[in-house]
């Protein structure tokens, strides 16, 4: 094995804005970039099994240094979904190479998780994918429960499913809003947020917060659903479903929207699988992979819903997948509404879940358990586990290693946007600069889970 000298000494040209340059993480002119790196920046990462590797010199966009221009987009830019920095090499308006530079939102959450107990862990992970916070909490709780070996009561499982499906609806509505705005349709932005506010006010009623709820905890959920939740959820379902057809009127048939979305950002299934892409990005290429259907968790095998799969792998497919996933999630929520079981909303094991607040006045044991759970935390047996759920962006996984103590020894979250961003050079190659904005939007990265 040869040590990679790339790491220690890199001789690169000095750029004028040195304070914000990121050294070897950036894009450089073709003369100072070797062929392998050129290939990756163009997006030619595939070794096709039956053919030759995609040679960067054979690609039809071969230009000299004088004709091309390297520009920097971000990290502060209205069209990027968060602090994503892109270095683009352009020939006029055509994008030749792309290099995403991330890390501008790195918060050290995986290190922070080692300092927080398991019951506090949800507060930390929930801020990773901040558009679908309940999914982060869910995957962390599932991983902890897999190590603990506790079984959830049915009502807790159903409540978790209800909340995460509502979160999926609100995340996709948010995507439609920001995608509309990136395309220039500010009315779509307002409509998306209007529907989202209904769901957020239901979340506020149930969990106490509009975002970053800390609701799904190891052991169940933090509190039971409030009285009258059935009416609220019914109103949400009816409204969102009816208005999703209004979005069809506004966007789906509109020539400008279609012209900007169809045929842009094409991805094939082989490329997607090689790049470990999951979620709507993978399903748009025609691969029917949805963890809720193929490797069900919670009680997804007890509800019926369709998995939406695209054909062409372009932006328009991803838009229609997300729009229809809103409708499918409404279908799931209706089934959960009809079949919600009664029972406990958290597991009754006193070593894991704190006792009800009212009981600590009367019972000494309850007081001691409450104290132990909230100060020291409950101990999780030694072991390691990897659990994955289907978040609105793809496969959200949690690798949790415990050493028998009350805090995780190592928590690693596999963020779907982190992996999906590797497809960006491929999607943007050969397109126009204005399509670059549309492509980033349709990949739907959330930088909180990219950078953690």
């Amino acid at each position: 094995m040869v040590l990679n000298e790339h790491i220690t000494t890199v001789s690169r040209p000095i750029w004028p804005t040195e304070e914000t340059s990121e050294g070897s993480q950036e894009l450089f002119p073709r003369t100072s970039t070797d062929a392998a790196e050129l290939g990756r920046e163009v997006g030619a990462v595939l070794r096709l099994p039956e053919g030759p590797t995609l040679d960067p010199t054979q690609i039809d966009i071969e230009r000299s240094d004088d004709e091309t221009m390297i520009i920097n987009m971000g990290p502060q830019h209205p069209s990027t979904h968060g602090v994503l920095r892109l270095m683009l090499e352009l020939d006029g308006e055509v994008v030749l190479r792309t290099k995403p530079i991330i890390g501008y939102l790195h918060t050290g959450m995986e290190k922070q998780a080692e300092e927080l107990s398991f019951i506090q862990g949800s507060t930390n992970v929930t801020r990773m994918d901040y558009l679908a916070p309940l999914h982060n909490e869910l995957v962390f709780s599932l991983a902890t429960e897999a190590l603990l070996g506790v079984e959830m009561p049915r009502r807790a499982t159903y409540i978790r499913m209800l909340m995460t499906e509502l979160n999926r609806i609100s995340s996709h509505l948010m995507w439609m809003a920001t995608n509309g705005m990136d395309m220039g349709s500010t009315s779509m932005m307002i409509y998306g947020f209007r529907e989202r506010e209904m769901i957020l006010s239901f979340f506020e009623k149930t969990t106490g917060l509009r975002m970053n709820h800390n609701y799904i905890r190891p052991g169940g959920v933090a509190a039971d659903l409030p009285d009258g939740w059935e009416d609220d959820v019914e109103i949400i379902c009816n409204t969102v479903e009816a208005r999703s057809y209004e979005y069809d009127e506004l966007l789906t048939g509109q020539t400008i929207f279609r012209g900007r979305m169809e045929g842009i950002g094409n991805l094939t299934a082989e490329e997607a699988l090689a790049l470990s892409v999951t979620g709507p990005l993978l399903r748009s290429t025609g691969v029917p992979w949805d963890l809720r259907r193929t490797m069900p968790y919670l009680a997804y095998d007890e509800v019926t819903f369709d998995v939406i799969v695209g054909t062409y792998g372009d932006n328009f497919d991803r838009y229609s997948i997300r729009l229809n996933e809103i409708r499918e999630s409404v279908k799931i929520v209706r089934q959960l509404l009809a079949n919600m079981p009664s029972g406990d909303y958290r597991v009754q094991d006193r070593k894991v879940t704190p006792p009800p607040r009212g009981r600590i006045d009367s019972s000494m044991e309850a007081l001691i358990h409450h104290f132990k759970v909230f100060t020291e935390g409950f101990a999780v047996p030694e072991g390691e586990v990897y659990v994955a759920v289907e978040s609105p962006r793809g496969e959200l996984g949690c690798y949790l290693a415990s050493d028998g103590g009350p805090k995780p020894y190592r928590m690693h979250i596999r963020g779907p946007s982190f992996v999906n961003l590797q497809a960006l050079p491929l999607l943007m190659r050969g397109g126009l600069l204005s399509d670059a904005v549309a492509v980033i939007s349709s990949v739907d990265p959330v930088m909180g889970e990219v950078d953690r």
Binding site: T20, G82, Q112, A177
Partner: protein, 185 residues
Amino acid sequence: MGLEDLPHNFLTGQLEDLVKWARKSSMWPATFGLACCAIEMMSSGAADFDLARFGMEVFRNSPRQADLMIVAGRVSQKMAPVLRQVYDQMMEPKWVIAMGVCASSGGMFNNYAVVQGVDQIVPVDVYAPGCPPTPETLMHAILTLHEKVRSGEITRRRGVEPPVVLDAAPWVPEVPSAVRVSRPA
């Protein structure tokens, strides 16, 4: 007193008051949404919590055209020089609102990666607590800033000039000066 009561067709007043009123009424924010707080900032600009009624719906993409930088979200070590560069590009007069606990003090992330408070990098005028602050909290912070600008309090030097006293008519309830919004003329 309306315009009909005046014997002449003009009003008089101090030029500074007019300038301050104009500044606070059309204070354009620059987009500096970083993390979760950015979503709440967008929500406050959207339908239910309309920021347009305060003249602030246009989030200017270029910092050269903006007056207000709402730092919404946690600032990582890699982002800090970018933040300073964007702040430097803004034209005077400019203001900064630290939205959320991560921007105010580092929040729950007291570790190697997060700058413990954006006031280590740029001067902050108003801090909005919350994780994330609800749109109402953000609007309260914005209105506090508007009030500070309108009354001139933001330009005074502490300890040198006397504090600005808002004339308290009997019907105004006893609230701290930062919270009191201007009463209609």
